[in-house]
Symmetry: D2
Subunit: 351 residues, 4 copies
């Protein structure tokens, strides 16, 4: 529970602490009621520097707190006392380091894509598939690896979950308008995006099309049986700092009224809300009646950036519906999502 006091906070480390997602981990963990940062790890060129010197441009809205600023950045080695290691590593280093930490007994809660589709690794969204955590019992590590979905997948799957449960979904088409911070730093060159949009993000469409089938899968016989939901995605980069907007078009298995769908979204509440996890949004989903909402600038930060905002639901033909969904890619779609996973693990005794 949010107000639950632990006798002693759980020590955590961050792999890849200097990048965009790494910084967001730091920002969200600074005042965390359960977790306490004890180690910041990054690539060679940062090792040995104070965190404030290793970070090129601190992205937090408040100045970097002193006790974090002076932490010396360590190399990515499992040689310190700590329970959870959050990973904000890119795919390459993630492949190199995450298993090392898991084998050494750490709970690796990763935002990297590399192990997401591994058969014994949960692709965890606490609002959707908390039972997938069971998978880690079969992992060959002394510790464990748990992943969260890609930043463009998360808004979609949370929006779809109540529809899947209540009405059944036949197929989904989604077109994304993704924010710059999704590409990390330095990421997208300014000359590529000022007065422009880019209709391509390498590897992104595959993730949006394939991750939901695992996320919506059922845990049966110690395995995930993939859901057969069919998704097609087109991914675009737009000149927005944070917040992925997605235009969704789908075919439900039954004909329903718009208001039934809106009610399903508004009533949706799940494990993190029930357990009152510290970073859980009050409501997983907010639906806006105003025609021109949601917008990245105005809705991305709702409930500390952990909520998903939906609007513009319209029925086009029988069974065909369209709507717009927005989520904060760096928070709900990356660092915040991973922390929520760790909170669920802590509460459920998986650490």
């Amino acid at each position: 529970m949010k107000n639950k006091k632990l006798n002693k906070k759980i020590p955590v480390g961050i792999l890849g602490a200097t990048g965009m997602v790494g910084q967001k981990f730091v920002e969200l963990l600074i005042d965390h009621p359960w977790f306490e940062i004890v180690a910041l790890m990054a690539s060679e060129k940062s090792v040995g520097k104070k965190y404030k010197e290793a970070v090129k441009m601190w992205q937090g809205s408040e100045p970097m707190p002193f006790h974090v600023a002076d932490i010396k950045v360590r190399e990515c080695k499992p040689n310190f006392d700590c329970k959870i290691v959050f990973s904000a590593l890119d795919a390459g280093p993630a492949e190199e380091f995450e298993e090392k930490f898991a084998r050494a007994g750490y709970s690796v809660v990763s935002n990297a894509r590399i192990h997401r589709m591994d058969s014994n690794v949960p692709l965890l969204v606490p609002e959707i598939n908390p039972d997938h955590l069971e998978l880690i019992k079969a992992q060959p590590y002394k510790g464990s690896i748990v992943t969260n979905p890609n930043c463009s997948t998360i808004g979609l799957v949370i929006a779809l979950k109540p529809l899947l449960d209540n009405f059944g979904i036949e197929k989904v088409n989604v077109v994304t308008l993704q924010a710059l911070s999704g590409a990390g730093y330095p990421g997208v060159a300014s000359l590529d995006i000022v007065d422009n949009v880019i209709p391509f993000i390498s590897g992104e469409e595959d993730k949006v099309e394939n991750e939901p089938q695992k996320i919506f899968g059922s845990y049966v016989n110690k395995k995930i049986k993939y859901n057969d939901i069919s998704i097609s995605a087109q991914c675009n980069r737009v000149g927005v700092r944070h917040g992925h907007l997605e235009c969704v078009n789908l075919k439900l298995k039954q004909r329903v009224r718009e208001k039934d769908i809106i009610q399903a979204w508004r009533r949706f509440s799940s494990e993190p809300q029930k357990l009152d996890l510290p970073l859980a949004s009050k409501h997983p989903i907010y639906y806006f009646e105003d025609d021109c909402l949601p917008q990245p600038k105005y809705q991305r930060d709702i409930d500390k950036g952990m909520a998903v905002s939906i609007g513009r639901l319209q029925r086009k033909h029988i069974f065909d519906y369209k709507f717009v969904v927005l989520s904060h890619n760096l928070i709900r779609g990356a660092a915040g999502g991973a922390i929520l996973n760790a909170e669920l693990m802590a509460e459920k005794g998986y650490l």
Copy 2:
């Protein structure tokens, strides 16, 4: 033909000459081989001023030419000697003035939406339905009214035309990322779009969903029989100056290979190319193999802004295809499209 010399250029006027589309008409007509600007008309607050004073910010890439700069802006009255009147009026004034000019004997070539769906008014795209021009014979005017489609419709219908003809189309889903100039000037407030996108453009989705059925309709018994193509649209505004990008997802009536589709696009050529009209693009459609193209910044100006650029064709499931299409909203989607219509009318003897 492009090089055809007329003994005397055809005098033309522009209604709504000071706005974004009006200025683009002026820019494109300045050196036009067939047409010559003789009258610039605008709303009361501009009447009597020199054009250079009535225009707040000249958008042309070259300085405004002297002979145009000094033209005195007239009121919207059909009282001068001229053959064609291009209309860049908003819907309200268009409703008030266009019919007056048509009744007075002028050929009104309009970019306004107000008469587009009138049963006796051609919704003309010279590459698609040049025969619809026949409709004007049944118009109750001494002159005539001809319209071009909405700026978000035009790229889509040109991209669809070769597919419709060659393979048949069952249904289409389109998500637009539309440029700022589509909203006119001052149009979108900067605070609404810096670090933001807006998932709503008033009235736009209806136009994209309904205009194609008329454009693709067949001229039978002096009427347009609407095509039954089914389209669903979601329209977004993004922080791009010019160039509407559209993510299209469609179901063809038959299974074809990607390369057949690309070939259909590349081979597509039509009336404006055959007649070698002055503003006709060399090819109506360019297909780009590069994964990250087309982009507004880099492809919107191809063939003087009159070509449509396509890329990222992918087959998703049997019969389902997706691709991205781009066109210049102010040129191909407004002033340039209207001028091409007038060129067709001139060449075909409809003036």
Copy 3:
């Protein structure tokens, strides 16, 4: 003092509550420890609507609180029970209404420019000239009028104050890079600023050049004797949402070392800090050693947007220094500055 509990909060109203500055007043007053919103006033087209309906796009980072959302917008009439009226009116309506309220006994704390240079009206910056409040004793109103400086003046004068006091200033040249929200809403058209900057803001240079002389003036014989500081300004609009950046170049009356100047800034503290006013920044000025700071995106929100950030101090020639200063135009430069004025008035017994 910040934690001082009033037995009963002071009721306040807001004139022009629906615009950019008006909304910022609302946002900053929602949880104010001393003040309580009792009236929201706006122009005719908003009167009678609920505040949430009258506001086109709520700019607050949190959703609009319910108790404010449902307040019915009133007309600008001094006919309700309240002590302070904050004015976010444009110059025109400010001229019409502010004196009416002052005559009716209200303390009008205005962000409008119209009365700033009136001889009996304080142009108040609590860190600089708290004694100017004495002027209101000579005002012919039952209530009073107090103003704060233009949003491009405030950062400059706070940066200059410690230099003026410690070293003397001969002359100042300032070039501003001003944010979009300084122009209100809808304000700057997106087509004017995407891929562009505008080297002109109507009336702005005059304000920056003339207001400091009054602000730095001395209160002598119940009048303000203007300071003779000489300032030249060039004002530019840039595509930033909030935060005015200013490049300052000045000649001091004596030669000093850079570190003396930095020390003067860092040590600067004044009345609002001494009185611990609720909206006072902890430090009025923050100096950054990092070459590329301050930047609007990263420093505008420091100390709730009330602090001024300075960087890049360089000595060019003997007596000539240059530096960069940043302040939040909507907070420190408008609503926040006015509220700080009211807090000073409350604490000093001027209400």
Copy 4:
């Protein structure tokens, strides 16, 4: 002269042909009446690829012409038949390669900074110091090295030249608002500039402060005697694609009327205009009366991007004047400036 036909075009090569400036060289040379591209050179990772494959994103407004697209990129070696080598190299490789080419007999016309301040290398602006070309006679190379100024220096010195000649200049303060393309590609990260400006460009202020003294120097006794003009600069990066805007404040040696200054600018014409060089702007300087001009978006392309635009001249105090100047950083400030240098050299017999 522009129309002068050479019997045979002069073969030219481009060093660093794939970057922003290199591409601009290519674009401007494609249809050049005197020069013909025979070699495109770049770093190792591009060598051997066709130019169209080596270039990540072609920045030209027209598609890359076929005969250039298929040129194979060579390594930077002086082993081919050609007269002039344009250098768009960064400082590092420029230091490595430019002298090699000069020693091998090529005329190296460079945009790189590395040799600009060398005592025997002209820092050439054909409108200002064509006689500095004499310096190359004293160069120890079989060929030669000629440089053009930094992209933020060029607009300033052209604006100052007529004032220096007519009225004398005591000192100058300049604040720049520089475009993104000045930093090359990928250059400025989008997250650093969306909703932001950066008050720092590494090394830039030094260049603006020091290059003019050489440019305005006099060629005496086979050496450049530096001018003693005193300049102070503050350099900012803004979210504009192309076009550096500069706010200038200066003290003239004599009191003059604004209209005398404007006349001096408008009458200014120099060697490139006299010789009618192909890339010479019709007028080196355009002065705009409109308060809100010049703006990057609207004036940067005047006279093919080779003209300098000025506006907002104001007299502040006796002898003190301020104005705004704009020039295209990639054209006038880089590739175009270098080509104009080469044209001057060709016309004057320095090749």
